[in-house]
Symmetry: C2
Subunit: 196 residues, 2 copies
DNA sequence: TGTACATCAGTGAACGCGCGTTCACTGATGTAC
DNA sequence: TGTACATCAGTGAACGCGCGTTCACTGATGTAC
């Protein structure tokens, strides 16, 4: 059953990182045990430490991976220019995204837990979020993306907080209205930047 | 040592709820064990179930209490009218609030974890957040507060997400710029509502 | 080509520990007579 | 006023369980001769 070679091991590691990313988003970091994470990847708990130094190591790695995937699959694939950001905002603050935590944004799923993590994880998060943000900033100000970094970051904060709030509310109708208001707010934030 | 009477027991219960609220915000819900929560209140673990049916029961109670306290101590005590909201936004998105999680906003500290909780806790949260929000809405539109509910809710989402993001970043300078941009965004959101 | 050995990804049981919860008990307070 | 008993807030040990982590072992694959 067990195949051999560096290639195979790297593939297994990748599988653990991806399934763990999904599990963390669904059940939280503290809510996901090593045995469960390994079972998700089709392995037993003992193999974990051949791939990662500790659970913290996996947490940092999985968060970095989630942000990278988001930059590549969501931000980079959106329509070019400002229209792309509008597309991103509408997709982010949609009922589908609200109801699909496992495939959704790691910021919305984990931000407050990340804030409680150690330096290593928070550094991995910071590096990852900057990559994500630069994709948005380069659409906001193509000639000078770094000037738009903070604005892009604040847009992410708005979106993540709004989605978290929509997920926490038991009143579906109110949550829906909140998401619509969030789109309005997000787009207004963009327009305020045209003269920057 | 142990005093007697319904009065005393209610006082003890109150102390548990308050210290637990602080501990949850600092270490997370999953990160706070019953023994630790009771030790915080100066008691031993065994007494817990004389006050609460389960940990979930305390979680729901503490979250409701936190939101009520925020409505009373922050929102209700701010300056009257729109100036009060501006005061709230600036205080919320300040470095002091970023660095004081224990005394800070329960939304910023716990929102994504609340989203993963059961119906009972999320219902308690929803009820509590509506009280908090109504205090803001009645400043936004004194003649018809319910029309401004969603807008007030979206302002809370913006503020909570921005503060979480500022807490998660290891780059203090960037976090500071984010908070300042968050204030700009929050105030712009208010102004967009004047013609409503 | 065949055989002996080295490599190593993954298994599964075990470690000490803290979790949420239960319960027999303590001892101070309040009540009855 | 004094004594006997009832009440009950809180103690602290114990329950089964899952946590993160360790490690002796398995068995398929690759290498040497």
């Amino acid at each position: 059953m067990v195949r051999y070679g560096k290639e195979h091991k790297a593939e297994t590691r990748r599988r653990i990182i991806e399934t763990a990313g999904r599990r963390f988003k669904q059940d939280g970091i503290d809510g996901s045990g090593v045995s469960t994470l390994m079972k998700d990847a089709g392995l037993t708990n003992g193999a974990f430490y051949a791939h990662f130094a500790s659970k913290d190591d996996l947490v940092a790695t999985a968060i970095a991976d989630q942000l990278k995937a988001q930059a590549e699959n969501v931000v980079a694939r959106a329509m070019p220019g400002r229209a792309g950001i509008e597309q991103i905002v509408r997709g982010y603050l949609s009922p589908q995204h609200r109801d699909d935590i496992g495939d959704g944004c790691p910021n919305a799923a984990l931000l407050d837990e990340i804030g409680r993590c150690g330096d290593m994880t928070r550094q991995a998060y910071t590096d990852g979020v900057l990559i994500l943000i630069d994709g948005i900033a380069s659409r906001l100000a193509p000639e000078d993306p770094s000037s738009a970094r903070v604005k892009a970051l604040s847009l992410l904060g708005l979106m993540a907080g709004t989605l978290q709030l929509a997920r926490a509310l038991t009143d579906r109708q109110l949550a829906h209205e909140l998401l619509e208001q969030g789109v309005v707010n997000g787009l207004a934030l963009l327009d305020a930047g045209l003269g920057m």
